[in-house]
């Protein structure tokens, strides 16, 4: 399973766009890239998943360059409620769907 590297923490202010970049140099051909959000004392919540180029949903966008060795989660106009830990995961391409969680990025949104 590919290892991911992402910043330990980031600060932002309400209304700003936040971009969190994750590197995954050893991503396998069939691996997808998935991002989760976790609030304290809750289970992680799925945000977005992609394989290549750009994916957008109602809460975020995911940018993946052609070599797929990195990805960037973009959160438009964050609010205080977006303060959470964000995990980038690569894998799931076997029938087990196994994923390895790293340390994640703690995003602190300030007023």
């Amino acid at each position: 399973l590919a290892k991911t590297t992402q910043p330990i923490s980031m600060d932002s202010y309400e209304g700003q766009e936040v971009n969190i970049t994750c590197s995954h140099n050893n991503i396998a051909t069939n691996d997808y890239i998935t991002w989760y959000q976790q609030f304290p004392s809750q289970g992680p919540r799925f945000i977005i998943q992609g394989y290549k180029t750009k994916v957008t949903n109602e809460v975020a966008s995911l940018f993946i360059p052609a070599d797929r060795k990195s990805s960037t989660l973009s959160l438009p106009r964050v609010s205080l409620s977006d303060t959470a830990v964000y995990y980038c995961l690569v894998g799931g391409s076997s029938n087990t769907g196994k994923l390895i969680f790293g340390q994640g990025t703690t995003l602190q949104v300030k007023p």
Partner: protein, 112 residues
């Protein structure tokens, strides 16, 4: 729609006591099921996963075990708890290959 239930939400157990945490999924068939543990301030550690009834794979050697007696039921057990078993236990499910995992609300386990 699919839902996942974990109970209890919190549990305080003495060292050496047994453990049984239950997870059930509704609204889907033959899901992949997962047990994770999260220590305070850390990422999630995959403990067990299952792709079908009676099929359990262990990721980390420990005094915990898992069972899947029914298609949508996943149980985490221990015969004798250790202090190091304290943590936040999460159950998750997915439809399999390259599909997102969906997590329960977790069980906060404290060992005294």
């Amino acid at each position: 729609s699919q839902t996942i239930h974990q109970w209890p939400a919190t549990l305080v157990q003495p060292v050496g006591s047994p453990l049984s945490l239950e997870c059930t999924v509704e609204g889907t068939s033959n899901p992949n099921l997962y047990w994770y543990r999260q220590a305070a301030g850390r990422g999630l550690q995959l403990l067990f996963y299952s792709v079908g009834i009676g099929q359990i794979s262990s990721e980390v050697p420990q005094n915990l075990s898992a069972s899947r007696p029914q298609d949508r039921q996943f149980i985490l057990s221990s015969k004798k708890l250790l202090l190091s078993d304290s943590g936040f236990y999460l159950c998750a499910w997915s439809t399999g290959y390259n599909q997102p995992q969906h997590f329960g609300d977790g069980t906060r386990l404290s060992i005294l």
